[in-house]
């Protein structure tokens, strides 16, 4: 256990010293502010750019617009930033060979994977909570949120999807031992999910639903129950990739 905590501490120190904590906090705060800001400013901007005299019947923005921004910014820009920041966790060590000394000292190979997983999840949690709480506070300040349902639950669907994507990246990064390898696998998996999504009858289980359905959940068109299967599929797939990573790394030639 002390070995595991010792290596986790190293991961934490490394992430702080390589400015990952700083970047995560700053960027996800900004995303949190941008969501309500974009929602609020859009009608005003539209008015400005319309030719003089055009009568616009733009409805006043509501809390829903603010959360819609959350789903486009956080699940696209946010997820991209997070994956970029943590996509080299394994490849950096494997390319440089920094693990060799520690592994020959008796560091368990599973410890390497699990501590990196936990560190990545910790950062994803920080990122999610920051963006969510900032968006929530601004939205509550400017609009009435009581018209929306399942605000936290809907947002955490994106969080779960992020976990899946992170584990997939970790696997690709370990398997190909290069930054590009990990990212290519991730991009491949996301594209595959989109292709699967073309067929309407896959909507009941496709994990991509965790990204696309939450806005409808806010307005009550989708019940949380409908997302249970995609949630379980996402968790199951994540677990498979995690076990795959552990097995592969256990016998990796270094």
């Amino acid at each position: 256990m002390s070995q595991w905590l010792g290596f986790l501490k190293k991961e934490w120190t490394e992430s702080v010293k390589s400015y990952k904590l700083l970047l995560t906090v700053l960027i996800f705060s900004v995303i949190g502010i941008l969501n309500p800001f974009t929602a609020k400013i859009t009608p005003a901007v539209m008015e400005k750019f319309m030719p003089e005299g055009t009568v616009l019947n733009l409805p006043e923005p509501t809390a829903l617009d603010s959360w819609l921004q959350f789903y486009s910014n956080f699940s696209q820009m946010g997820l991209l930033v997070f994956i970029l920041l943590f996509s080299t966790m394994m490849s950096k060590e494997l390319e440089k060979g920094t693990l060799i000394i520690l592994l020959t000292k008796g560091l368990r190979r599973s410890t390497v994977i699990t501590t990196k997983l936990v560190m990545g999840l910790l950062y994803w949690t920080i990122a999610f909570l920051l963006t969510f709480s900032i968006t929530y506070c601004y939205t509550a300040f400017y609009w009435d949120q009581s018209i929306l349902e399942h605000v936290l639950l809907a947002a955490s669907c994106v969080y779960v999807f992020g976990i899946l994507i992170f584990i997939v990246t970790l696997w690709g990064n370990t398997y190909f031992a290069s930054a590009y390898g990990g990212l290519l696998v991730t991009v491949g998996v996301v594209i595959a999910l989109f292709i699967i999504g073309i067929f309407p009858n896959t909507a009941s289980w496709n994990p991509l639903q965790l990204l696309t359905a939450p806005p409808q959940m806010l307005i009550g068109e989708v019940t949380p129950k409908k997302l249970l299967t995609p949630f379980l599929v996402a968790m199951g797939t994540g677990l498979v990739f995690l076990i795959g990573t552990l097995i592969h790394f256990h016998k990796k030639r270094l």
């Binding site: 290596f7 190293k10 490394e14 060979g97 000394i101 520690l102 000292k105 008796g106 016998k251 030639r253």
Partner: protein
């Protein structure tokens, strides 16, 4: 024997890198492992550490068999890779603390052992992060981390080859000092390094061990021979000494004389004085490891 390597064969695809290698390393020796670049030295070391699987054969370290992947035998080993890589954001002291946690060293021992090692490798005054270190400093930190858990075996892969003469001398003296508490197994392609500190030497050539013996035994064939140079040319000196019953020969600019006992040695000195030959230098004739290697390779 702290290491027993039994019939180890290693193939990469169809290329046989190690061919039935047998090697035994006795305790508390400095074992030099020589061979040209690409002879398979690093491969054998990685097999000993369980970082690569062997194709066939067995390796036992301190009585424990080595398995590929996680191996218990690593608890007895300290390893210094040819280019040791550390986390650049740590200082030497912090890195050793991480290593101490990973080897499950009792907390009470850690601080003392780390200070002891930093002193040994001359890094105790350095507080800057590892990213500012020179090659030599990294190599020395590498030895410190390898010795941390008092291993029974210290494996060093080409510890001296990338260093300048000062750095090399430092590493060699540290290895020599380490002999008192561990067995040192180090590879090198610089034969003079092996010659300076090794008790035993093995040579790997094209995947097979072509000799392994005590260094002194390898050099012994030329015992009782002495090399002289004189203030006059060696040919002149030889012609002056010609009528004497010593076995003498000319090697380069010096005279090699066989003097098998003390009486003979004293007598030879008297003969020199009688003939008015002034010695410029004199030393025992040792065959250089390089010559041994050259002869074996012929």
């Amino acid at each position: 024997m702290v290491v027993k390597i039994n019939n180890v064969t290693k193939r990469f695809g169809t290329k046989e890198v190690l061919k039935k290698v047998n090697l035994n390393i006795p305790e508390n020796t400095i074992f030099g492992f020589v061979g040209a670049n690409g002879a398979g030295k690093t491969t054998l070391m990685k097999c000993m550490l369980g970082l690569l699987p062997v194709t066939s054969g067995t390796i036992t370290i301190a009585g424990q068999p080595v398995t590929f992947g996680e191996t218990k035998s690593n608890a007895h080993i300290g390893y210094l890779p040819d280019v040791p890589e550390f986390y650049p954001f740590y200082s030497a002291r912090e890195y050793l603390q991480l290593c101490a946690v990973i080897t499950n060293m009792p907390k009470s021992e850690r601080k003392k052992r780390i200070e002891e090692l930093l002193e040994l490798v001359g890094l105790s005054q350095t507080k800057s992060p590892i990213r500012t270190y020179s090659r030599g400093m990294k190599q020395r930190l590498g030895i410190a981390q390898a010795l941390l858990n008092r291993p029974k075996l210290l494996i060093c892969d080409e510890p001296t080859s990338a260093l300048d003469p000062v750095g090399r001398a430092q590493i060699l003296s540290i290895l020599k000092a380490a002999k008192s508490e561990t067995t040192v197994f180090f590879s090198t392609h610089i034969l003079s390094d092996a010659e300076q500190i090794c008790d035993r030497v093995a040579m790997l050539h094209e995947g097979t061990i072509i000799f392994q013996d005590e260094l002194s035994a390898l050099q012994q064939q030329v015992d009782h021979q002495f090399v002289f140079t004189f203030t006059i040319s060696v040919e002149k000196a030889l012609s002056t000494l010609n009528n004497l019953a010593y076995s003498m020969s000319i090697e380069g600019e010096s005279l090699v004389v066989r003097l098998s006992n003390d009486d003979e040695r004293l007598q030879f000195m008297r003969d020199l004085t009688e003939r008015g030959l002034i010695i410029q230098s004199m030393n025992a004739h040792k065959k250089l490891l390089e010559q041994v290697v050259m002869e074996v390779l012929k």
